[in-house]
């Protein structure tokens, strides 16, 4: 066995969930053609991402909105995976957040996350 290319690219949880769904990991273990470990991974990731995941289109609009901030690739993936709702959480996702961005920009970031990643059709309550 040979590793041809170790890291072609980072994947966000949503993209992995989409691939697992293609492999029928969301169906019952008896009828699904996915392995039990894939079903386990699907359930665990789905729980972490709050019950639903976004498709490539929605993620792309979010990534385009983030362009003016100049974030690295893995910081964008962090934001998509964790959907921070407060300053403390944004600080965990992005390195040196306080020195690189001022308060207004961080507010903008939080609003963008809220708009693109948190507004799900079935969750009516907003995080205050």
């Amino acid at each position: 066995m040979k590793i041809v290319e170790e890291n072609i690219g980072l994947l966000s949880n949503d993209e992995v969930l989409a691939v697992l769904k293609d492999r029928e990991a969301d169906k019952q273990p008896v009828i699904s053609r996915a392995a039990p470990s894939e079903i386990q991974a699907y359930t665990a990731l789905l729980q972490q991402s709050g019950g639903s995941f976004r498709d490539r289109q929605q993620l792309q609009t979010f990534i385009d909105c983030l362009k003016p901030f100049g974030l690295t690739h893995w910081e964008t993936v962090h934001l998509i995976n964790h959907r921070p709702a407060s300053l403390v959480e944004v600080d965990l996702c992005i390195e040196d957040c306080e020195t690189r961005f001022d308060d207004e920009q961080i507010e903008q970031l939080l609003t963008l996350v809220q708009e693109h990643l948190r507004n799900q059709p079935d969750s009516g309550e907003q995080a205050s």
């Binding site: 066995m1 040979k2 590793i3 041809v4 290319e5 170790e6 890291n7 072609i8 690219g9 980072l10 994947l11 966000s12 949880n13 993209e15 992995v16 691939v19 697992l20 492999r23 990991a25 996915a34 392995a35 470990s37 894939e38 386990q40 991974a41 359930t43 665990a44 990731l45 729980q47 972490q48 893995w74 993936v77 962090h78 995976n81 964790h82 407060s86 403390v88 959480e89 600080d91 965990l92 996702c93 390195e95």
Partner: protein, 207 residues
């Protein structure tokens, strides 16, 4: 958390599967070999992404199966240093707190990487963080945030190493009391926002 990797491997299709279309038989063989396994120095293979190319089938003397050289991509779980992970507390021992991600359970927060000052409470079998006079407990089964410090890959122990351990009186790697861990993630919970999630929710509500 996840990366896409391209691998190349020789896959043997058993004679009874030669009637199936090549892609199906090869996918089945790849899934059996790679899913939920750790590739050394790469990570835990979660799922097969796609098959890029299948070489010509070769047949070897006295073997009824056909051998194909397959190039394919897999989704691998490989956290990078400094990455934020959210998981549940699996169990707590004197060695630290074990974090469970659902599909991966070998993340350990050593006592040195817990928020200062932290104490091990023997009666509750739990770790706690004493902050400003308040005792904040790590609770089993509850979500927590941890930052990755390092990812280590351990080589499969050889028989001679296991013999040495048995002779030396320590638990043998690969036995029930000391299971072999192919991929170990060391995490830290000493930082702003890290640790149990409910510690920070309570703070916001109080303010």
């Amino acid at each position: 958390m996840f990366i896409l990797s391209q691998l190349e491997d020789n896959v043997r299709i058993a004679p009874q599967d030669l009637g199936k279309p090549a892609e199906l038989a090869i996918s089945a063989a790849l899934e059996k070999a790679f899913l939920d396994r750790v590739v050394p120095n790469l990570g835990l293979v979660v799922t097969l992404h796609d098959i890029l190319s299948i070489g010509d089938g070769c047949v070897y003397p006295s073997d009824g199966g056909a051998h194909y050289k397959v190039s394919f991509r897999v989704i691998v779980f490989r956290p990078f240093s400094g990455e934020l992970l959210v998981g549940k507390v699996l169990k707590m021992t004197r060695d630290g707190v074990y974090v469970d991600l659902g599909f991966f359970q070998d993340i350990l927060i050593a006592p040195g990487d817990m928020p200062e000052p932290s104490y091990w409470k023997e009666d509750d079998k739990a770790w706690l963080w004493r902050m400003e006079g308040q005792d904040l407990f790590f609770e089993q089964g509850m979500p927590l945030r941890v930052k990755v410090q390092s990812v280590d890959f351990n080589a499969v122990p050889t028989l001679s190493q296991q013999q040495e351990q048995a002779d030396g009186g320590e638990a043998v790697v690969g036995s029930k009391s000391r299971p072999f861990v192919p991929m170990e993630v060391k995490g830290r919970a000493d930082g702003d926002g890290l640790g149990m999630v409910h510690w920070y929710v309570a703070d916001d509500e109080m303010e």
